[in-house]
Symmetry: C2
Subunit: 481 residues, 2 copies
Amino acid sequence: MAKDKKMVTAITSMDEDFAQWYTDICKKAELVEYTSVKGCMVIRPYGYAIWENIQHILDSMFKATGHENVCMPMFIPESLLQKEKDHVEGFAPEVAWVTHGGNEKLEERLCVRPTSETLFCEHYANIVHSYRDLPKLYNQWVSVVRWEKTTRPFLRSREFLWQEGHTIHATAQEAIEETERMLNVYAQFCEESLAMPVVKGKKTDSDKFAGAVSTYAIEALMHDGKALQAGTSHYFGDGFAKAFGIEYTDKDNKRVLPHQTSWGVTTRLIGAVIMTHGDNNGLVLPPAVAPVQAVIIPIAQHKEGVLDKAAELLEKLKSLGIRVKMDDSENSPGWKFSEYEMKGVPVRIEIGPKDIEAGQCVIACRYNGEKITASLDDFAEKVKDLLDNDIPKGMLAKALENQHRRTYACTTLDEITKSLEENGDGFIKAMWCGEEACEDAVKEKTGVGSRCIPFDQEQLSDKCVCCGKPAKHMVIWGKAY
Amino acid sequence: MAKDKKMVTAITSMDEDFAQWYTDICKKAELVEYTSVKGCMVIRPYGYAIWENIQHILDSMFKATGHENVCMPMFIPESLLQKEKDHVEGFAPEVAWVTHGGNEKLEERLCVRPTSETLFCEHYANIVHSYRDLPKLYNQWVSVVRWEKTTRPFLRSREFLWQEGHTIHATAQEAIEETERMLNVYAQFCEESLAMPVVKGKKTDSDKFAGAVSTYAIEALMHDGKALQAGTSHYFGDGFAKAFGIEYTDKDNKRVLPHQTSWGVTTRLIGAVIMTHGDNNGLVLPPAVAPVQAVIIPIAQHKEGVLDKAAELLEKLKSLGIRVKMDDSENSPGWKFSEYEMKGVPVRIEIGPKDIEAGQCVIACRYNGEKITASLDDFAEKVKDLLDNDIPKGMLAKALENQHRRTYACTTLDEITKSLEENGDGFIKAMWCGEEACEDAVKEKTGVGSRCIPFDQEQLSDKCVCCGKPAKHMVIWGKAY
């Protein structure tokens, strides 16, 4: 029991210090390790396996919606980055510059891609000539670099892994549809595979991607009441096409400008999972992305027949396609319980001499701690059903309940301030006139910024929460990661 | 027919200009496109899909042999790169240096990883403490950068995609076994999935990886008689462990040094496939890595029933898990034949009104041009069998025959010179005393360098081909990519 206790108390309580709780989980669940490169990390096997599962599911969704994977260079010549004015202004201050190759100084310095719009545009200019060449629906899985000052594992790092979708279309309408389609794909993925509810909406103009006409985002609420932008989808109009000289010949033989989009999610999603589902015993993983979905812990494993029976259970679960492992190491069952709780394994199966005698085993669910006793005849189907249905649904419902409970409607700045004092952080719903000055004033006076203009609008009042003039939109405000 | 002809004559004949033939295929089969970043390329969807298939198969083989994927940062601080003397000497002259982050000059410059031994060593030093922590069997799929002067798509580029395996073991013996195991995995993959025969062997000391005790390699013979190093596996002994202060406590409670390996293959394998199987009509892809394994071409598709029947065939092949597409575009059948020959699709299926009447279709194999007529009752099983068995075996046999035909045993330098004059390039087998001076002299006098000391040794004579002193090894010599 001493060992158990050590495991459990080894992480900081989230109520005591949320940031430290987060870092503790990243380290103790063996997701990441720091390196001597400031702001860059090693993603360890357990953390990377989560990312591989995320990639696998999302990649299927991208391919099912007609996208193809490609790979662009990691370097962008300075002159290429500068072609689109807003884009370079947004990114140049935070890129890493390569100035030397071997012992020679480069004629033109290259930045390590912070994002790849400019490279895709250069490529489109080479391959898009006629309406027959459109649309191009591309994606790439790579890492990008942004020279952040303060960094945290998964949430903000100088190098991070992501996918970036880049598409080019004949018409504005098609491109806008694509922008929305991919935001919906992200939202569906977050809810179905990460059991994480998100609010879909549009960013205000001050919060748009550098070079975009409009940016859509999905916003999720973390355990500490802060908002996390979990994915973005950008509509570019024809701005990049103009800047890069991309034109095509349409059916009427006229030269016209195509319309573009880009969209991305990053390893930040792993941070979102930690802060949406984790608890004081560690990580809690949704089954769809858990590297190990079920762990079998033999009880009194030295007794005759226990390990054999546990091995039988293992094979049964494997045969149903479940990612399962058995831990028959010398550690105590209690130590093992804590270990796999820390690692967020969705289901634990206990099997000991008494269980075997009774023809049953115990199934414990990580996310709610519930234990059920199942007959050995159909325990495997039961586990599969838990992993496929009950657990993801239960986790989503729990997270959604938390989001609803911590969403507060306010009609004045005083109400916002009061809500923050009384309820702590959360999503604040309040009306907005559409003026950037009011957006800034809300931030300055209350500390919360606009997260997004949700697609699902409500008419809370007809006045702007700040200036009292006619309101145009309901906005979700909050503190952000 | 004019269009057909244009497609076919659009690539240079390989006998006329092999290098141009290669480049033509890369472009016309839409594998790559150049960019404004010298020596870096866009890998286009069709090229990237080949790489995805390679990754998928190899990754399964790595996991089946107990390896886990991780992800290290792309940057290496200069001081970290310098810790192992041989390693930094080998790589420092060809790395790209990041000197600025945003607008600030970095205190210490960072190189973009040319390979990641140093990062893995730093990580091992953090996580390896006891014999219980060993072995660690890691791999990562990333891109690396080496500032090459002359570049060619897939074969030599400044940035290339690869996997790098890195492992650390308690004993030298375990590490040596790992080095050999992974070379065998590579050889098996090349023969089974790429239908490409390889020679397994050890590199001479002058050709070892910077920092390695020994380097093993697989060497393949290209159509033009040049050798291509298709994969390498390195045994490091405890040199890196010493340099990075990695120690562990063994079972007797003593502090000892662990032993390491690394091994890698790159997108170069795609170049190898082009130059092993390609012909004057374009690419020829082995079925295991072909993005499209079979293409259905309806003949006289405007006639009633043709497209319906073709769609039926498509569904049948899909149901067997075959990557298949139907081309019912407006282009002529002849144009389509050329197009899919250029793209190296292993099997073409033709179906027209007469075939339907006769209850049959025509199956054409890309690699040997053979056509067979198959009954519609069992054509799908026939296609599957071709893709799984006959085609890969036939392609391997053809490539192996070519390799054997172009391997020449020589006992004197004059014989080497004569063979090169009479037979052109190829693998030259000749004995060697083991002295670097002789290795250099062979290169200088005949133009061929040592490729490897094959594991399968033959005693061609008892004298060194160069100095006439007692021979230690049979070496394969050749010109290399």
